[in-house]
Every structure is written in structure tokens, then in C-alpha cells.
């Protein structure tokens, strides 16, 4: 297996972007034409991620694909709806079901009012997360979570090499044998806010955006 495979097909180049809030996305180039709708990304010895292919097409004899965590429906517009005196679970559940996504089923807090305007499901989730003072994200198996950002210490950290650390921009680049890091943890005393796993002809790197 290569450093990264999409549905078992080796990835030639591309990146996976995992922010601390919202869905993760990937833009990858492979040599095979047809790869279906469901996407399984696997880095041997590291991450195994499930998402959906939202677009793909031929480019210079290769296939470029765009993948998003979850079912890929978070841009779907949902109608307006109002709630009064409800647990936060209710409006979140309605959005998730409306977009045919999956979620953990738990969220903190109650709302005396909630006014959902017509718009993209992802934007509606962001508005709720802001009100509840938490973040929402799509995990590596495609499940949506609402949780506070407490940055626990990263566990089971494999060996890595720090290739560069731009303290002004707060971006660290790691040389890695496989992709393993996720955001929302603390690594080397840095709060990892977002991670970009990159792959090209020279190998793989992980960019860590921290605070």
C-alpha cells in the first residue's frame, strides 16, 4: 500500500484538510477512472477516513477527486424553522436528518428560542455551535459532533520530524511516514487547530496550524 490510498487505489498526489470546525475535505489525484461515490481513505498504519466523493473528473490522463467527510450534504439548503424552549439536540437533529448526515446525538444546552433561517445545513450548524459556545466537526468516520474545544494531549504519537516551525504564522511542518494527526489535541505544547496532510512525488508531510 502507498502512503495514502483511496478505495484501495494509491493516491499520486493531493491533500487532506482537517479543520477544528466543520467537515474535513480532500483533493486527491489517482490513476483509476471510476471509484464510486463512497470514499475510504487509508494511510497504512495511520488514519482511516470515511467520506463521500462530491466531484471527480479526468485531468491529464489521471482522475482528480474532491472528497468531503460525511455524506457530502452539508451544502444542501434547508428551509426556515423556529423553536422555542427546546433542548439544543432538537434543532441540531432536525438539520442533520434534513441533510441525511449522521451525528453523535448529543449536544450541550437548551435554547429559549432558536431561529433557523433558510440556508445551507453547514451554516445552520455553525450558527448553533456559536450560540452553544462549542464547535461542530465531522469525525473520520463521517459522524458530526458538537463539543467544546479542550485540546487533550495527543496519544499514541508515532515518531515524526519537525521540518520547519514558522512561529510567526504558527504553522509547523512535520515529516511523517504515514498520516496520523488530527486537530483538537495538544502536540508538543501546541494546540492543534487544523491539520493538512500533503502528498506529492517527494513523499508526505503534515502541516500543523496551531495556537
Amino acid at each position: 500500500m502507498s502512503m495514502l490510498a483511496l478505495n484501495g487505489v494509491p493516491v499520486i498526489a493531493g491533500y487532506i484538510m482537517i479543520p477544528d470546525e466543520g467537515p474535513w475535505t480532500a483533493n486527491l489525484t489517482i490513476s483509476t477512472e471510476s471509484i464510486g461515490k463512497a470514499a475510504v481513505l487509508e494511510s497504512e498504519g495511520g488514519l482511516r477516513m470515511q467520506g463521500s466523493i462530491v466531484s471527480s473528473g479526468d485531468f491529464s490522463g489521471r482522475t482528480k477527486t474532491k472528497i468531503v467527510g460525511g455524506a457530502g450534504n452539508l451544502s444542501m439548503p434547508l428551509p426556515a424553522k423556529h423553536y422555542s424552549q427546546v433542548s439544543a439536540v432538537e434543532p441540531i437533529g432536525d438539520i442533520v436528518r434534513g441533510a441525511n448526515e449522521q451525528w453523535s446525538g448529543s449536544a450541550p444546552g437548551t435554547l429559549s428560542h432558536w431561529t433557523r433561517l433558510e440556508g445551507p445545513a453547514g451554516a445552520q450548524l455553525s450558527a448553533l455551535a456559536k450560540e452553544l459556545d462549542v464547535v461542530w466537526y465531522v469525525d473520520i468516520v463521517g459522524v458530526i459532533h458538537f463539543a467544546s474545544l479542550d485540546y487533550p494531549e495527543a496519544v499514541r504519537v508515532p515518531s515524526y520530524e519537525v521540518l520547519s516551525d514558522d512561529k510567526a504564522s504558527r504553522v509547523m511542518t512535520l515529516g511523517v511516514d504515514h498520516f496520523w494527526l488530527l486537530p483538537r489535541v495538544t502536540l508538543a505544547d501546541r494546540k492543534v487547530r487544523a491539520v493538512v496532510h500533503e502528498l506529492d512525488g517527494s513523499g508526505g508531510r503534515t502541516k500543523v496550524f496551531y495556537s
Binding site: T115, L117, P120, G122, A127
Partner: protein, 167 residues
Amino acid sequence: MTLGQQLADIVRKMIYHVDYYATYAAKVVQQRADGSLDLIFDHPRIPAMQRVAIRYPFPGASLKVAAGARVLVSFEDGSPAKPYAFAWQSPGLEEVQIGGSRPIARQSDTVVTPVPAGTMLTLQAVGSIPVNIGQAQVMPGTPMQLMVTIGPSLTGSIITGSGVAKA
């Protein structure tokens, strides 16, 4: 999806929250016992709402309004969790209170006021025609004095007047 559609998607997501800083026209479906309002909106992007609080221009005020009254609604701090109704169009006003629990009356409104026992009332006919008050008749130019003995309530209408409301 075209580049333009992708860009429009991104912009829609980025500016989604901006709409909570606007003001929207609504119609009252009903006013609940706690004074809050159930509303439907002219704008199709705004859902029907229940239990929306009214914000008043000064403290201690309250309103009773009829179904069909029209009002503007906004969101405090641009928060979807904090809608409030605050500015009205006629018609639909039924009662205003400013401090305390007694309503303010408008000209021609019927008013009821309690009169403690022992109060001396002076009744005077306005104009040239006698006025019948219960069994008594008040002649023009001849005020009639009545001693209240059992503390009734008087019902009448505001004809004219001005003054300062006080709690």
C-alpha cells in the same frame, strides 16, 4: 457545478449570519397570556415564531394587541436565540399599560374606576340637556352631589384630557 455556483455557495455560507442583523415585518397570530407573540412573517426565509417577547421604548410598559396587528422583529446581538418585536403599525392596539397594572385610556375608551366608600362625588351635566345617571337626573347648571356608601366602580368614557402617566 460551475465556478460561479461554487463561489455563491461559499458566499452564502460566509454571510449566513448577516441576515440576523436585519429587521423583518410580521403579523401577530396571537398574543399569549404572558404578553409574548406568535408571529408569521412576510419574508419567506423567516419561519413562523412562537413566544417572541415585545421590547418597549421605556421600562414598565406593556401592550395588548389583536391578532392581525403588524410589528417589526429583529434579533438582539444578531443572535438567532434572541428575537424581539419592537415597532408597530396600526391597527391592532387594544391596551397600553405604563407602570403598575392599570391600562391607559384613550379618548372615547370605556374606563372603569373603583370609588372607595365615603367618597363625595359631584356630578355635573355638560351642555343644556339633563343627564340620567341610574335613577337620578342631573340638571344643567345644577351640580348633584352623591355620597358613595358601598364603594362601587364607575364606568364611563374618556372625553378629553391630558396629563402625565405615573406608576
